[in-house]
């Protein structure tokens, strides 16, 4: 479980996050949604330590992450897997080397154990025969799956996904969403997804946090969000023609 308590963050004069508090549950897919520029990505970056919070705290199962230095954060960071919007695979490495990288750098496994783990992770994301390909040689959907395989290689307790469906066709988006849901349940991870994708909201929003103008505006699950009665939430959820049609 990850708890965000009264987190504020600004850049210069501009206040991006204002006193945000929320609890992200273990074994569930937790979604952070909101319009562009609402502060979702900044919140996720504060949670993983890429940005330092100005005030408030972030707790990983009771451990105050925001007050730790680089060295103290290391054990927690090794429990985090992250899927980036652009996948962030290392261009100079093959698929196999990308997935093996955290194991090589951070574990004391033997070569055979590392190879077995890589095979397991690639099998898990349905990429059993792409080991020797480079990121430039595979499709966007495959890149996301390799990035998921790399993120779960160290058996993380916390999985962060920054817009996992961006740039993917609807069918591949569903495949990625299903994969994330399965993995979350299978490994009992605390999964946090920052998304715009309405299909993701409807199908896997166990715990949804809606951010508006840097503030926690609304929270609930996928059933509640459709009848939240909150004008900003409704405006966001029912912005597309399809959603408006479904509402009718």
């Amino acid at each position: 479980m990850i708890e965000v308590k009264n987190v504020s963050k600004g850049f210069g004069e501009k206040q991006i996050l204002k006193n945000v508090s929320h609890r992200f549950e273990k074994g569930k897919v937790n979604l952070i949604i909101g319009g562009s520029g609402s502060g979702k990505t900044v919140l996720v970056k504060c949670m993983v330590g890429l940005f330092e919070v100005d005030s408030g705290r972030i707790e990983y199962d009771g451990r105050n992450f925001s007050e730790m230095n680089f060295k103290e954060r290391k054990p927690i960071r090794q429990e985090i897997g992250m899927l980036f919007q652009g996948s962030a695979l290392f261009d100079s490495m093959t698929v196999e080397q990308n997935v093996m990288f955290p194991l090589t750098m951070l574990s004391d496994l033997s070569q055979q154990e590392k190879t077995d783990r890589v095979n397991f992770c690639l099998q898990r994301v349905n990429l059993p025969s792409s080991h020797k390909l480079f990121p430039a040689e595979i499709s966007g959907g495959m890149k996301k799956r390799v990035a998921i395989a790399r993120a779960i290689a160290m058996n993380p307790k916390y999985l962060f996904c920054d817009e996992p469906n961006s740039g993917l066709d609807p069918k591949t988006s569903i495949v990625i969403d299903e994969l994330i849901m399965e993995i979350t349940e299978e490994f009992q991870m605390t999964t946090i997804i920052n998304t715009h994708d309405m299909n993701s909201v409807i199908t896997m929003g166990d715990n949804i946090l809606f951010i508006h103008k840097g503030e926690k505006w609304w929270s609930g699950n996928e059933q509640e969000i459709l009848k939240s009665g909150n004008p900003e939430v409704d405006e966001f959820i029912f912005a597309s023609k399809i959603m408006q049609h479904l509402r009718k």
Binding site: L50, A88, T104, M105
Partner: protein, 246 residues
């Protein structure tokens, strides 16, 4: 005031390189890979430039040597000392600032804008140490060899040019390159080379590491890396020369 911001951030960046490596064996392998990338792949351009520098120095010295009282072997001496003291360490390192510096800045800059550096940091890996430290060690170790090769090839180029153009007989040129040879000049050149290698890798890495934006900014970082490295090479060339030779 911006210069103080960059100076402060540069020193913090340098300090961050010296954290304990996550895996020493991985760093060792990366140093070897970088030595290949920085050193071996630059051998061709270094040799080509050096041979023509030596040739031009020889012909121009002969052209300017109008006093019949000055013996012809002085041409060899001038070619030797010019190559060893100045041209090989400074010009070759300026060329490397263009070739290696831009490559380092654009490689690290691209990794920054495509979130590859963020991925390293989230894994708990010291990203600056992992990416930059091996490049710096490799450059500091391999650059002196490149400069030594440049000295040898440049002096040989001068001999070939003198022989082909017939402006100086081989015996005079060879006598000149052996005349009053000071081994300290090579030591001096090596000191300069190591300092320049450090400047190129650290400045280019800094520019790449703090790239913010997209493809345009990566290009701008790459350009800044080359410009700042080149200017600082020239400034430090003057400082080191004044400190050591005077």
């Amino acid at each position: 005031m911006k210069i103080f911001f960059h100076l402060g951030r540069y020193w913090l960046f340098m300090a961050s390189l010296f954290g304990k490596p996550e895996k020493f064996s991985v760093y060792r392998r990366r140093v070897l890979e970088e030595m290949e990338s920085i050193g071996v792949s630059s051998l061709g351009i270094v040799s080509l430039i050096s041979v023509f520098m030596g040739a031009v120095i020889t012909i121009q010295t002969v052209y300017n040597l109008v006093n019949p009282l000055v013996p012809l072997y002085v041409v060899g001496l001038v070619a030797r000392d010019t190559m060893i003291i100045e041209f090989s360490p400074t010009i070759i390192m300026l060329v490397l600032a263009g070739k290696v510096g831009s490559s380092i800045a654009s490689e690290i800059g691209t990794m920054r804008v495509t979130e590859q550096i963020d991925a390293l940091e989230i894994m708990g890996i010291n990203s600056s140490g992992y990416l930059v430290f091996p490049k710096m060690i490799a450059a500091i170790f391999i650059a002196p060899f490149l400069v030594l090769i440049s000295m040898f090839v440049g002096i040989a180029g001068g001999w070939v040019a003198g022989e082909l153009s017939g402006v100086i007989p081989s015996t005079d040129y060879i006598k000149g390159i052996q005349y009053q040879f000071l081994p300290f000049n090579v030591t001096f050149a090596m000191i300069k080379t190591v300092v320049f290698a450090y400047l190129i890798t650290s400045i280019s890495s800094y520019q790449g590491f703090y790239t913010d934006g997209g493809a345009l900014e990566v290009g701008q970082s790459s350009t800044r890396a080359v410009v700042y490295s080149s200017v600082l090479i020239l400034i430090f060339d003057y400082i080191i020369t004044q400190l050591i030779l005077i």
